[in-house]
Structures are given as C-alpha cells and as structure tokens.
Symmetry: C2
Subunit: 216 residues, 2 copies
C-alpha cells in the first residue's frame, strides 16, 4: 500500500553553496525577527537543505548568528575605497564620504537592523570578535586624513577629531533607517520616500560642513 518512492531526484553535494544558502537565509531571518525571535526551523525551511546542515556547518544558533554578523560587517567596509577622495579638496572629499555612508545605510537595511539587534544584546557578540574592529578602523583613518587636509587648507576647525565626526555622520544615516518605523508613525513622514530621502541627504552634508567650517 505504502508507495515507497525510490530516491527520485539525485542528491547533489555542494558544501560551499549550502553554506552560503544557509547564511543568506539566516541573515534575512535574524535581521527580520531579532536574535531571540529568529527560529532555526524557519531558517532551515527556507533553505535548499535541512536543519541538520545548520548544526553540521555552524554548530548552533548562536554561532550561526555570529557568522551572520561577521558576514554583514565584512561585506560592508571598503566603502571609502572607490571614492577617489585624494583627487579633490577636503570639503569635496568629505561630501563624497558622507553621501557614500548615507547611500550605504539606505541600501543595507538588514545590516542596520543587525547592528541594532546586536546593541539590544549589549554588543556581546561583537566584543568577542577581534577582526571586526580592524575592519572599521579604515573609516576613521580616512576621516582623519580628510580632517588634516581640511585644516591645512584652512577650511576646517581643529577641535573635532575623526571619531567625533564619524559619530555625527553615522548617527544621522543610521537613525534614518533604523528608526524609520517609529519615526514614520509618530510624525507622519516616510523617511524612505525618494523626495524626503534626497532632502535628508542634502541636509546631513550641509550640517557637517557648516559645523566643521564654523570656527574658521
């Protein structure tokens, strides 16, 4: 009575593809549901493969989350690399970097959400990972270069350092994406709408440049 299907479709082994598949699905799930809200079974279900493989390749839910977080950070930086900041003056270079940060955050809401989630969990996973700190050092170095050049050109004040500046820029770009939902609900302004977005993009540049130039 029981029709026992003889293995109808040939299984095909492809460890790399399987790992990538799991990582991608896991990234979406964690970013959407948070760490505790994410379900291992839900991730497995949306994968070409089974839950067994998650544990085979990653070890467990927490390690999978860690891998996702690392992957997210890794695919992020080197943001400044293709900007060709050297070839223009300090104000123009800074403008480009701000706009690149803005566009990056806008295009990577999952990354933004993962960082928010990581902060909810007191950053305990990030703190464990030494490599990620170095990845982020490059933005600071870039900003530092721009600041130095701006001071030499006489267009920037000298009592603001690279980390101050990074805080100012990324807080605005980050918040716009991270707090989109509550901000939109409370103030009836959809920050993802193209016109509003373009307005914000202009304003953050104005703000930073006005600030740095204020002392000169």
């Amino acid at each position: 009575m029981l029709e026992r299907m003889p293995p109808p479709s040939k299984r095909t082994n492809d460890p790399e593809r399987t790992k990538r598949d799991i990582l991608e699905v896991a990234m979406a799930e964690f970013a959407s549901e948070g760490y505790s809200g994410a379900r291992v079974d839900a991730i497995a279900a949306r994968t070409r493969t089974s839950k067994r493989m998650i544990y085979y390749y990653f070890g467990g839910k927490e390690q999978l989350y860690l891998a996702v977080l690392e992957e997210a950070y890794r695919s992020i930086r080197a943001l400044e690399d293709q900007l060709d900041i050297e070839s223009c003056d300090a104000r123009e270079g800074l403008r480009r970097l701000i706009e690149a940060t803005f566009d990056h955050d806008e295009r990577n809401p999952n990354f933004i959400r993962l960082v928010s989630i990581e902060n909810i969990h007191h950053g305990k996973h990030l703190k464990q990972n030494v490599q990620l700190r170095q990845l982020n050092a490059s933005v600071i170095a870039t900003l530092d270069g721009i600041l130095k050049r701006g001071r030499e050109e006489g267009v920037f004040r000298d009592d603001v350092d690279a980390i101050d500046l990074h805080l100012a820029i990324s807080s605005y770009c980050f918040f716009r994406v991270a707090n989109r939902h509550t901000f939109g609900a409370l103030f009836d302004r959809d920050l993802s709408e193209p016109k509003v977005l373009a307005r914000s993009r202009t304003q953050i540049v104005e703000m930073i440049l006005a600030w740095l130039g204020a002392g000169t």
Copy 2:
C-alpha cells in the same frame, strides 16, 4: 511529616500597586532582553505577585509589552514644558531644547532600547496606538515656534522645517545611547564616559546652530 503552613502572612490586596509592580519589572525585562527574549516567567519571578496576575491584568505577553511601550512614551514627553523657552531668543531656546533632549536620552536608556526594539518589530505595536502620536506632536510644535522666531530674528535659514530639525537632533542623541555598545567596541570610545558625554553635548548644539545659521 509535611508541615502544612496555615496561611502565615495575611494576603493584602492592592490592585494598583500590583499593576505598577508588574509594569516596572516588565519594562526592565523587555528593555533588557527584547520582546522575544523577554520571559513572562522571569517577569513574574521578580514581582511581588505571581504570573497569574500578569494575565489577570494585562491579558498576555504582547498586551503587557504594549502597556510597557505606552507607559514609556507617556512618561517621556512634556520634556519641553519646564524649559521656559519663550523668555529667551531663538538660538538660546533651541540650545536649551537640544540639551534637554540630549540629557533625556542619556537618562532614559530603557526608553531608547524599547524604541529600538519596537523598530526591530517594524513598529507594528506603535502603529496600533493612536494616542501616542498626539503626545509627540508637541515637540514638533515647540520646534516650529523656535524656527519661526529665529527667522524673524534673522538668525535662522528658512528652508528647514521642524521635522527636519527634530530628525537631526534626535538621531544624534538617540544613536549615542542606542549604539553605545557596538560603537564602543569598534572605536574604543566609551560614549557614556562623562568627559566624552560632555564633549558630544557641546558638539550637537554647535552642529545644529551652525547648520541653521549657515544660510544667513
């Protein structure tokens, strides 16, 4: 053998106190663990009362979270009320409002965390609640008044509206607190340290004032 204690301590009914007790504990738990990470049993355990009462008064986990969120927002606003902004010029009034926002966010990390959590959940609870929108309208009105006055005084540009301004101010104040952990881990700067804090507090004021004055 089994010593059956005859009710040793008289039970004392105090519904209001019980409700407040639950709300306070729940606020801490949700803010610390996130919505999915929060445990109803953990909340009950830290309460004077039992889990039964959570369901008796609030109905369930989600409704409890909603009550916490509402309470958090409610205890927040009227921030601008005791600032006496009318009595000074526009720039000074704005400075006071920025500093008040900054201090407020610094002093209420649980509120900040709850807002982050609510955004992780796509703001779906906040969207359900009509009252909360009105509570927040007052900041916008206050900012609008300041902007108008500043334009009359000829010290503020006229192409920035109250919501633009609120976004700029609160993004910085919020991010400092919300992303404290990842920022600290990545850039080795503890944003909660008094000296760093004071520096940021000065800088956000400078930034906003420089920006608004840039066109004049």
